[in-house]
Symmetry: C2
Subunit: 342 residues, 2 copies
């Protein structure tokens, strides 16, 4: 399997996040990619740098003002005499307007964000853009005939909506991959999100569309981040009605219950008869994950991969979360090798 | 002038706020009240503890589920094995649902909040309730015949909406005072908010009502907190259309420009012919304020007070912001003594 990876991911580093009332170094850290990369090489996968894509590629799933904000935010921050990482502290939440974009950098940052856990540092744009190019490159490989490909994206993407960032995510890599497959002639594309957290951004992007199915298995937002999307009653709207499916599971879920939800999710994907599949591959479902509460062990990830292979459609894997850094490589490789039937 | 003050304010202490990318002790600190109290005593004002009021008094302007959340939040936090102050990090901002209240404490906290700058500590409820009682007591004094009264509230209130807290505010003291005056037979009540920041919570509470006029002079939300409310085009809705008036001013505003806006605001209040007035009295318009950018000096606050007196209506002053702690007493006393024509 070809792996798309960019060393530029390391440019997104040095920020802190608000976590349980403390400002701590981000769980989403560069070494995650190093561990995955080592596992990819151990597995004998060919690791390639991403191709370049025009900026307009991003606008297929993101708002132009949002992309411009991400591209220029930290430079504007520095031009205003500020230093270090950017973290918003006020948001257009309940009882506030959402229809006006403040001109100042603090308000604009809050407008485009939904949490205080996603710092923007000087190199964030370079890293996020490189991750998006990894996803687009992996999708291009599959469009060109590969049966499967893996985008080693960092930062991840599935929490990023059309014009909102958060949850360590800036550009929605999986949505970009799915859209690229659509644009290359795949009529129906399914996105299956197996990250511990709901892929609220991907759901938002494809909410009103019937050509891209979004299916997610995740920890219930009743107790888990992102809290405000990912409930079972969300099924899409307009033309997209019925093309979003959520399978929320409680904290403490083991492989036994997970497997049942995975079967149901795969049934939903299979019923859609997709021409291609994008997997938002988070491995924070792992029992050792420091911020999550599912109980999958390393041996379960190859099983997940084998089940995904049964769909028998061209598949793009896109890296999302996973914060047990020493085990992340084995868990990701497990899914991919299981998929390949090794 | 009678002053309502409760020593319980000190129970709200020890939290930190996310400020410009750093977690710092709150600018809204107990010593603020100490400095104001000393100035009240120097001015010869009679300082009294607030009367008790039934919990139902709060429900005249706040949502019952919201009040219950504030009342029980920190106990629930501790029962879940957590310690220290509570600070939300994910919010129902753009591209997320606002129609579902998560059951878990983290999600519920984010649901009811709109910033990461308003910690809840063990004693927050006691202090917020005491502050609400101070405002209700000052309103009761005026209802009973006093020409004016001052509620030395801490924590402040004007950022707290019907079911949302933020901006150091939990219960909306000024809105409670205005509602109490209405309930005691004052047919038309005006709220004039002169805090540096827009009183988004008060505006939200009275947005659709014509019996309470809300007028605010504040720094433009284009660049200043709370960013997402307080623009000049917001004028109320439904029955309340025309009964909200905002006068946003740029950073760097001096007394000269402020005075012009104050005249316009007082014209709006006078045109409403109120039977009583509530002043949301923030003195963070002071040039030495550490988080604000207006240029009023201590000599301007008595002038503000004199102009307010020209309305010649029973007036309840309710303390809001002001973070230049050593000068806060003189600035607050300046407004009140100016009002009294001393
Ligand atoms: Zn995740
Ligand atoms: Zn203020």
């Amino acid at each position: 399997m070809k792996v798309a990876h960019s060393p530029l991911h390391i440019r997104h580093d040095g920020g802190k996040e608000l976590h349980r009332g403390e400002l701590v170094p981000c769980f989403e850290m560069p070494v995650r990619a190093d561990y995955i990369l080592a596992a990819m090489r151990r597995a004998g996968f060919e690791v390639l740098e991403p191709r370049p894509f025009p900026l307009e590629s991003l606008l297929r799933v993101h708002d132009a003002g949002f992309v411009e904000f991400l591209r220029t935010a930290h430079a504007e921050w520095r031009a205003a005499g500020k230093e270090g990482f950017m973290l918003p502290s006020g948001f257009p939440a309940r009882a506030l307007r959402r229809d006006h974009i403040p001109t100042g950098i603090n308000g604009r940052m809050g407008y485009y964000a939904f949490d205080a856990s996603t710092p923007i540092v000087e190199g964030t744009w370079d890293a996020a853009l490189a991750a998006a190019h990894c996803a687009l490159t992996a999708a291009a490989w599959v469009a060109e005939g590969e049966k499967s490909a893996y985008a080693l994206c960092r930062p991840p993407g599935h929490h990023a909506a059309r014009s909102v960032y958060g949850g360590y995510c800036f550009l929605n890599n999986a949505a970009l991959a799915a859209q690229h497959l659509r644009d290359q002639g795949f009529g129906r594309v399914a996105v299956l999100d197996v990250d511990y957290h709901h892929g609220n951004g991907t759901q938002d992007i494809f909410w009103e569309r019937s050509d891209v199915l979004f299916v997610s298995i995740h920890a219930t937002p009743e107790t888990e981040y992102p809290y405000f999307l990912g409930y079972a009653d969300e099924r899409g709207e307009g033309a997209g009605e019925g093309y979003t499916r959520n399978f929320p599971l409680p904290r403490g879920t083991t492989w036994k219950e997970y497997g049942i939800a995975l079967d149901a999710a795969l049934d939903a994907v299979g019923g859609f008869a997709p021409d291609a599949l994008v997997v938002s591959l988070g491995v924070d479902t792992y029992e050792g994950d420091p911020i999550s509460a599912f109980k999958l062990s390393t041996e379960h990830f190859p099983r997940m991969g084998r089940r995904l292979a049964e769909l028998k459609v061209p598949t793009v894997f896109v890296q999302e979360g996973g914060y047990a850094v020493e085990e992340i490589g084995a868990n990701v490789a497990g899914v991919l090798e299981g998929f390949l039937g090794r």
